[in-house]
Every structure is written in structure tokens, then in C-alpha cells.
């Protein structure tokens, strides 16, 4: 027989209360030696708090049993950030990246079912707490943006691409607006992070993937340090071609045009920004045509929203 609606609602409330207690326990950071914190959120004994809702068995206390989940939570999520941000991790060092991950996930716990989106607020977090990026703030910021752009380019939405002829046919350049594929990110970087990331990724080994399995492991071992890049202004388009992610270097004027178009400027206005920088270049018109032909061949353009 089904319970009355009131009884059902009370039952669900109790279930929710248990789930909140459980989540509170497992989402709290581990101690420095990767154990569950001995004190509960109210400052009282965690052993006592956990014993109130979890049974012990003949080998493990209630605290020990919840601790298994507490460890799995952190190892699983930090593993995921380790895989998505190998460049940032390399620059920061393993230990500091671990601490950053804990601070970030404590401030911004995952708000989506997709582990792919776990790092989607890391840039926001680091903008508010830039001290994490010391002593290489610009390099760390460049890497963070490039690595997130990589995630977006890997499986981001693709819209029907526009051909070059369709782009320009009959359109008034003073009014024509072009959109870019949602999976493309344009970046202005202070360091040549594209080459650096490629070196980092080459030495990374593939890991396991999402499933209901758990892993009993502490954070990974330290790897030999890579030489950090020297400052150099570069402009990048992080895009996808034939389902592989590419980092394409752009000239500064090309970057200006692309970001101008992306912001919604009409084609003519976006190009004029670039022309102002290359007044002395008589062949710039041809260069411009070649750029557009190439970008269209990559399928970058789509209808502006």
C-alpha cells in the first residue's frame, strides 16, 4: 500500500536530511595527511556526529566508513582537475595545485552532473583569489584559459558552417555580422603556452574514465619539472578540425578581426580595426582575403545570433 502524501513528504524530508549530513561529511576537505577532519562543521566531534546516522561494523567505526567516501570524493574530483589542467598543474607544482583544487571545490562545489564542467568556474575563482597564481600569474592565467578553451573545443556545440561565398554574397560589409562556432576561443597570451601545453600533454599518461568504480589512491607522484617558457606575446585560436583540437597562432590583426566579429562588430568595422594597424602594408587586402578563405575552410563561421 502506498503511504499517504503527508507521510511520503515527511519520508522524503528525512531522506534529504540524511543526504545533507552525508554530503556535508564527504565534501569537507581532508586533513594534510588525507584523513577525514576530526571535527564536524559545528566544531564538535565528527565521530559523534557521524555515529548519529551511520552504523559501525565489526571492523570500521561510523567515522571510518564515511571517511572512505570523503577520500573518494576528493581523489576523484582532484584527479579530474589534474587531467583537465595539466599545464597549470605543471607550473604550480603538484602540491600547490592540489591545495588550489581543494580551495576551488570548497568555494565552488560541482553544480552539474558533467565532470567535464568541473573547471568551469576556476577562472572566476582565480580572478578573486589571484594569490594562487604566484609567482607566475600571467603564465598561470594564460594556461588556465588555454586549457579551458581546450575542453570547450573538444566537444563544444557546432553550428552549420557558412561557406565564404555565402558569407559575402550580396551582403553589405558595413552591416554584415558573422558568428563564430561556439567551440572556438580566441586568446591573447603573454607566453607561448601553446607549445608548452603540447610538451606537457605529451608526457602525460591517459587515465581511467568515468564509471562507478572508485580508486584508492592519493594524489599522483611528482614529475620532473619542465622548463617554463619565456614571455612572448602570442594570439591563438583554439578550435576543432576533423574532431581534433588545434591551437592556431594568429597575427595580431587577425586576432583583432576575430574578436571584433565575435563581439558583434560588423565585418567592415572589424576589418578597419586591423587596417589601422597595417596602414603601410599594400598587400594587406590580399592577406585579409586569404585569412577569411582559410577561416571559412576550417568551418569557423556561422550565422551571427
Amino acid at each position: 500500500m502506498s503511504p499517504s502524501p503527508r507521510k511520503h513528504s515527511e519520508g522524503v524530508k528525512k531522506l534529504r536530511a540524511i543526504q545533507r549530513q552525508f554530503a556535508t561529511g564527504i565534501m569537507r576537505p581532508l586533513t594534510a595527511d588525507h584523513q577525514m577532519q576530526p571535527k564536524w562543521v559545528d566544531g564538535k566531534s565528527a565521530r559523534k556526529a557521524v555515529a548519529a546516522f551511520i552504523k559501525p561494523n565489526d571492523r570500521l567505526s561510523s567515522f571510518d566508513r564515511l571517511e572512505i567516501y570523503n577520500k573518494q570524493y576528493w581523489f576523484r574530483l582532484i584527479d579530474c582537475l589534474y587531467e583537465d589542467f595539466p599545464g597549470l598543474r605543471t607550473v604550480m607544482g603538484e602540491r600547490r595545485f592540489y591545495d588550489l583544487s581543494v580551495a576551488y571545490l570548497t568555494k565552488y562545489p560541482s553544480n552539474t552532473y558533467a565532470l567535464r564542467d568541473l573547471g568551469n568556474r576556476l577562472e572566476k575563482f582565480l580572478a578573486r583569489e589571484p594569490q594562487w597564481m604566484e609567482p607566475h600569474p600571467k603564465l598561470a592565467r594564460d594556461l588556465l584559459r588555454l586549457e579551458w578553451a581546450h575542453v570547450v573545443a573538444f566537444d563544444g556545440e557546432a553550428l552549420p558552417p557558412l561557406e565564404i561565398d555565402a558569407l559575402l554574397d550580396g551582403g553589405d560589409p558595413a552591416r554584415l555580422r558573422l558568428g563564430f562556432q561556439p567551440y572556438i576561443t580566441f586568446l591573447a597570451c603573454d607566453y607561448p603556452v601553446d607549445n608548452f601545453i603540447i610538451s606537457v600533454r605529451r608526457r602525460e599518461e591517459p587515465q581511467g574514465e568515468a564509471s562507478n568504480a572508485v580508486a584508492e589512491r592519493a594524489p599522483r607522484k611528482t614529475q620532473k619539472k619542465l622548463k617554463l617558457p619565456k614571455p612572448e606575446k602570442i594570439y591563438l585560436a583554439v578550435h576543432r578540425s576533423e574532431n581534433s583540437v588545434w591551437y592556431k597562432r594568429l597575427e595580431p590583426e587577425a586576432y583583432l578581426i576575430c574578436t571584433g566579429l565575435q563581439k558583434g562588430l560588423p565585418l567592415q568595422t572589424a576589418c578597419e580595426r586591423a587596417f589601422r594597424r597595417r596602414k603601410a602594408d599594400a598587400d594587406f587586402g590580399v592577406t585579409l582575403q586569404n585569412w577569411f578563405a582559410q577561416w571559412a575552410s576550417f568551418g569557423w563561421f556561422c550565422r551571427a545570433e
Binding site: 528525512k14 545533507r20 552504523k55 565489526d58 571492523r59 570524493y73 574514465e209 564509471s211
Partner: protein
Amino acid sequence: MPANRFNNFTHYGIGIGLRVPHYQHILSRKPTVDWFEIISENFMVDAGRPLQVLDQILEQYRVVQHGVAMYLGSTDGLNREHMKKLKRLVKRTNTPWLSDHLCWGSVDGRYTHDLLPLPYTFAAAAHVAQRIREVRDYLEVPILVENVSSYAEFHASEMSEWEFLSEVVEKADAGILLDVNNIYVSSQNHNFNPYDYLNNIPHHRVGQMHIAGHSKFEKYILDTHDHPVLDPVWKMYAHATKLTGATATLLEWDDRIPSFDEVHREALKAGKFCKDLLHEPVTA
């Protein structure tokens, strides 16, 4: 002949989990495999390589979807965005059934990305059953719920895990994805006889089985999916097969993944077990 009404796919045989390290081998060598199980969430993306690979696999193989993030036991509302993307994928794969876990994993909009155990209460069973019905109505595909391995039990529980599973599937009129390894892991962690579990669930609802390896620690066992299937699990699998009839079975291997051929060989053992044991009487 199907073994039961929730098992219309007896002929599916033995499947293997589709995993990234094996993509190249599968696409280039096209090995003979009855079917592949995919983790739905890995393919619930807008575009890119995951979907390209999936489409290539679909040209050659049957695919069954298995989810890890529906969180049927969560008390938050169902995530509509998740459901929409899942439905889109169901249409793409034409999966004959869809499975996810009898667990929860999010509360107050915060996601743990884990398969957390539920207190075995009548209220929780009614809540989960209601959500399964909602999901099935929306996705328009049969739903199987999988028992999870667990490391904690609640004071609030009012019944055993197998009674809870039975209560849920009966109330929801759903099928069971029976994870034999998870039963073994939980039985060791919670001191119960795994054969009591196998003997006391509604066998006619078992539509699929999972087998996998686990890791033993001093005081508990972890469901790591990083080893071959161990003997006690094979014995339980044989017993379960006698109770349910031949059932579509998947070998899970998710960490420290060996070569495709090694995984395939291990999976095929399940087929041999079925053949050898189905004609023997049920014991234990």
C-alpha cells in the same frame, strides 16, 4: 526465448564497456563483440570526437547505455538538462534499455560525482520508484536499476538491501541490472550472505548483469574495476544465471585498463559460464 519479461534481449550475450584506450583497436580491427555498453554521460556532449566515435561504433555494433549521474535517489528535482541530453542520446543509440544506479549523488544542487548509498526505508523506496517512473515516461525506454557497492549503512534503514531493491523495482515496475561484483563487495563490507541477496530478489526482473574485479584492503573491499573477475564473483554469477536464465552480461574494467584482447578474453569467460552451468540444478 527470452528468460523473462524484463529480459527480452537474452540473445545480446556478452558485452564489453566501450573505453577510450580501446577506440583505435575496435575501429581498425573490428573485433567480434556481441555489444558495447557506453557510459551515457561520456557521450552526452554537443559534438566532437566522442560522438564521431560513437557513430562509427553504431555502424558496426549494438550499443547499450549505462548512466552514472541520474541519481535516482536524490531528493533534488530531476535535472531537466540532463534528461534532455539523455533523450537525445537514446534516440541516437537506439538503446534497447537504459540503466543507472540505485543511489543518490547530489543534494541542494551540489554534485558529488559518486554513487552514494541510500538508507533502506519505505519512504526512500517510494521516492526512487516515483522518479524511475518519471524518467521512463520521459525517455520512453525500459529502465533497469543497478545495485551499487557500498561502504556505509544507515541507522535509519528499515530493511535489507535486497528487500529495498525489490521494493523499488516492484513499485516502479522496473528491471534490475544485477551487479554481482557489487553484491559481493557489499556483502563483505556489511557482513551478509551474498547468496541471500541473489536468492531473494525478483529474478524475473533481471535484464542485465555486471561482473567486475575488486580490491581487498585490510578492513574493507573497494569496487575498483581494475582487476579480472575473482572466483567468488564467478561462482555468484553462475548461481545468478541459474536463477534468472541466460542474461545479457557486461564485464566492467575501468581503471588500469589492459589491452582490448585481454578484456575481451575475460568477458568471454562469462559466456562459457552460462553454457556450462545453465543445465545444472540451482544450489547454494
